[in-house]
Assembly symmetry: none
């Protein structure tokens, strides 16, 4: 009887919490990839929180973690640093995401959808409304994003800067993307949601890429040697760019397995 009362009390409390606590609004995660200076991580946190974003992920920060310079710079947005999720590599940081954007000034010849911050945040909002998990990746300050990381993205965000002076800092790039997220906060009429629904997650695309790369490697597909790296990059880029459902991914795995079975007969 006590147990039952406790359960009811728990349920009541939970319900009350549900009523009183603001439900966290789904939002994109911002992923800082190999950031260098703590000051810039702190400034990025400020820029995010200025526009109500507080899901920060950090991949392999140069000066380790936590970082006192980041904390000093973040003043007022320090909570984002306390709650930031740390990852060893980009793949792990976006493993649970359905759709990922890469911010980069100059798409480097990869075939990839290129969006303005405005269009990207409209797109992100529609995806999040449809239940997808979304992330935006930001590269290291000095070098920008590497092709390996860009290849993991579904689309590119490119800020329409003055071509004579395109250099944006990490914090500026975060600020502008956050600004566009919030600007879109007023529900847009006719924002489309995808009906197909059951999209493959990043980790599933990653595994599909692994599977094909491994088998094709054995089959001698990546030839000649000096072109192999680029061929692999193009293949990874293809999988991440295509709008694949879970069923598509299963079929592609099945195809590859069957080709190997055929060979082994």
């Amino acid at each position: 009887m006590l147990a039952l009362r406790s359960l009811r009390a728990y349920q009541a409390a939970t319900l009350l919490n549900g009523l009183m606590m603001p439900t966290p609004t789904p939002q994109p995660a911002f992923v800082l990839i190999r950031p260098q200076m703590g000051e810039n991580i702190g400034a990025a946190a400020r820029g995010m929180w200025n526009f109500g974003l507080d899901r920060m992920r950090i991949v392999d920060p140069r000066d380790g973690w936590p970082n006192q310079k980041a904390v000093a710079m973040a003043s007022g947005a320090g909570r984002l640093l306390d709650e930031a999720q740390l990852f060893e590599d980009t793949g792990a940081a976006i493993a649970d995401c359905d759709y990922v954007y890469a911010t980069t000034a100059r798409p480097r010849g990869l075939t990839k959808l290129v969006l303005t911050p405005e269009a990207a945040m409209q797109d992100a909002r529609a995806r999040i409304a449809a239940g997808q998990k979304v992330a935006v990746m930001f590269g290291p300050e000095r070098s920008g994003m590497e092709n390996d990381d860009i290849a993991r993205a579904n689309a590119i965000i490119s800020v329409p800067v003055n071509p004579d002076f395109p250099s944006l800092t990490l914090a500026q790039c975060v600020l502008l993307t956050g600004y566009e997220w919030r600007r879109e906060d007023v529900p847009t009429e006719g924002a489309r949601t995808d009906a197909v629904g059951d999209w493959a997650q990043k980790i599933e695309i990653e595994k599909l890429g692994d599977h094909f790369e491994d088998r094709l490697q054995e089959a001698g597909f990546f030839f000649p040697e000096h072109k192999a790296e680029n061929m692999k990059l193009n293949l990874r880029n293809l999988w991440s760019r295509l709008p694949l459902t879970r069923a598509d991914v299963q079929m592609l795995h099945g195809m590859m397995r069957q080709m190997v079975r055929w060979k082994d007969k």
Copy 2:
């Protein structure tokens, strides 16, 4: 006679210059009012030039002028500082302007039109197109704009920030306003595909489908029999649904050919 020829030559040269030099696009002046730290003036110059704006005016900078810290921070946008116009007070700085905006986080009970950066830059563009001179005022870092200065403005620009964390730096405020100015400049379609996007034609997708279906048929992929038709349909549907380029199609053909070659070894 010589004088006349010289004058004509001068006129011709001027005319030629007029034809060859790009006419400077009319744009709003950005007026920094009593800025404190040189670094912030330099960062503001960068943010302006990132979006193609280069008319800076400065009212009574705390540390005098020129300012070496401003120059150091402005790297790449130093020309804006060289060409900046210096004024003793706000009235003088905007004396030649037809319409002036004041950027401030919280309109302080003055009855004044309040605009988002987006609406303000749309308005500014229309005014400039109609021949008006337009300026945007930015207050000192620490205190923000004083009521005396706000009172001189025709309208207020207020960035839609998170009410729990509204503090924007001078440089951030300049950046976002400049971004909105340029965003209005860019053709409205937000999405564009990378130049590489040489999309495959329907007939090429059809042939890709044939190739995969034939080989997978031989490999025994379409099994069991009663599911075969549906599996083939799903596969055809996959290829036609995906946004494939010609290069993608070639790669997919190549993959399949290599798997067959591997088998035949």
